[in-house]
């Protein structure tokens, strides 16, 4: 796939006018992230077929204060939701009288590194499932409980808790399972499709303009290794599909339903774009 140039127009403008030096990009910081002393991989060589040489965690693009908040789990406000998730894990719900722990025991053991490999192919459903959908499947089929409503606080908390069991583990998807490759292809198409009155694709900002500022916002590669993410501007956890929908909405487009096939495909593709980055859930962003 052809890489979106920053702005063909800008380059042309420079060439034609010989305009004085215009240094637009601001580099991501040259720092290393340790969470409670455990090193995170925030830079990794990109997988084959990736438009970048190196994949970069969004952490590298944030302000010093935001970065520092993520380095200490006691400071990280997202950890409150993770603790709530731990309680939900042990709470009996549904007609079968089970909790997650009834079958999966200690999540630190049974869920260790699991979230780093989601979305994962589910032959039974004939599609990839992310952690949220996997939780729902378990609740409905094994617990006799109802699926969570999208972005219900319990859904975000339990998802964050499960993904947190992979803290530090590099993201890696198995695209050879089932039809994962087809979903990846479809997600890639969505990633490069411009939407809305503003006529922008994911790639417009997170590939073409990565490293630049839109207003006060330092554009990252749009990696998803830290979701659900704690955001200061909303003061709570933000799920990945909420973020997808927000970005698409900002192009002044109608946006797909959470966990729709379109957004699941996008999740598969975008997660792959962060291959090798540590799971940082719950990451802290502005």
């Amino acid at each position: 796939m052809k890489r979106y140039s920053l702005m063909a127009g800008a380059a042309f403008c420079l060439a034609v006018t010989g305009m004085a030096i215009w240094t637009a990009a601001a580099d991501p910081v040259d720092e290393t992230l340790e969470i409670d002393g455990v090193p995170m991989t925030t830079r990794a060589p990109a997988p084959e077929g990736h438009p970048f040489d190196e994949v970069l965690s969004g952490w590298l693009f944030r302000e010093a204060e935001t970065r520092a908040t993520q380095e200490d789990t006691f400071e990280n406000p997202g950890m409150i939701a993770v603790e709530e998730g731990a309680e939900i894990w042990n709470t009996v719900e549904g007609s079968a009288g089970k909790s997650c722990a009834s079958c999966h025991d200690d999540a630190a053991v049974s869920m260790k590194d699991v979230g780093a490999h989601y979305p994962k192919w589910d032959a039974d459903s004939g599609k990839p499932l992310n952690v949220e959908l996997r939780i729902d499947k378990c609740r409905v089929e094994n617990m006799g409980a109802e699926a969570y409503k999208f972005d219900q606080p319990e859904q975000k908390a339990l998802t964050a808790f499960i993904k947190h069991q992979s803290l530090g583990t590099p993201v890696e998807l198995d695209l050879s399972e089932g039809d994962m490759q087809t979903w990846w292809d479809r997600g890639k198409e969505t990633y490069y499709t411009r939407t809305g009155q503003l006529n922008m694709a994911c790639a417009t900002c997170h590939e073409g303009a990565m490293g630049h500022y839109i207003r006060a916002d330092h554009l990252s590669q749009g990696q998803v290794n830290g979701f659900p993410t704690y955001r200061f501007n909303t003061g709570g956890l933000v799920s990945l599909h909420n973020r997808f929908r927000g970005c698409i909405r900002d192009t002044r487009a109608e946006f797909p339903a959470a966990f729709s096939d379109e957004l699941m495909a996008l999740e598969v593709y975008v997660t792959w774009r962060g291959t090798g980055l540590s799971v940082e859930t719950p990451a802290v962003r502005q």
């Binding site: 140039s5 920053l6 127009g9 305009m19 499709t193 411009r194 006529n199 006060a216 002044r252």
Partner: protein
């Protein structure tokens, strides 16, 4: 209905406005030739003060999202996705600036990130209430162009 004096006055104002509106070039009819749109979209000269407001307004031009401009230094957070516009009027003619604001993708390249502010050649799944609508009105484009032509060094 009996026409009152204010109603008649209003009718005159309306006629004036309708007159200008009738001369307005529809988005699909704007001719971009040699990277330029020579004719005004409305026939009404642009107002640079109004243009500066439209330029900065986050729900209108929001041009500062990507471009920095010293003339608007009082506004916070100028982006740097695209070139600064200081001295832009020394580099481009009024007709070229109009073309760039109307549809930069037709002037530069389809890969330009800049939205077409007076174009219906837009992305997929446009929000329902915005279908068939441009980001700026023809007069707002003229106002922004008038503001841009003041940016000389």
């Amino acid at each position: 209905m009996r026409l009152t004096v204010p109603a008649i006055a209003a009718a005159f104002v309306m006629t004036g406005w309708v007159g200008a509106h009738a001369a307005e070039v529809a988005p699909g009819d704007v001719q971009i030739e040699d990277m330029a749109v020579e004719a005004s979209l409305t026939g009404t000269p642009g107002n640079p003060e109004e243009g500066a407001k439209t330029f900065a307004n986050r729900s209108l031009g929001n041009c500062l999202a990507c471009h920095a401009v010293e003339a608007l230094a009082k506004e916070q957070f100028h982006g740097n996705v695209a070139p600064p516009l200081d001295g832009v009027a020394d580099r481009w003619s009024q007709a070229e600036l109009r073309a760039i604001v109307v549809d930069a993708k037709k002037v530069f390249s389809d890969e330009s990130m800049m939205p077409g502010f007076y174009s219906l050649d837009v992305g997929k799944n446009v929000r329902e209430d915005l279908v068939g609508k441009t980001i700026l009105t023809a007069q707002q484009v003229e106002d922004v162009v008038a503001f841009l032509t003041t940016l000389k060094e």
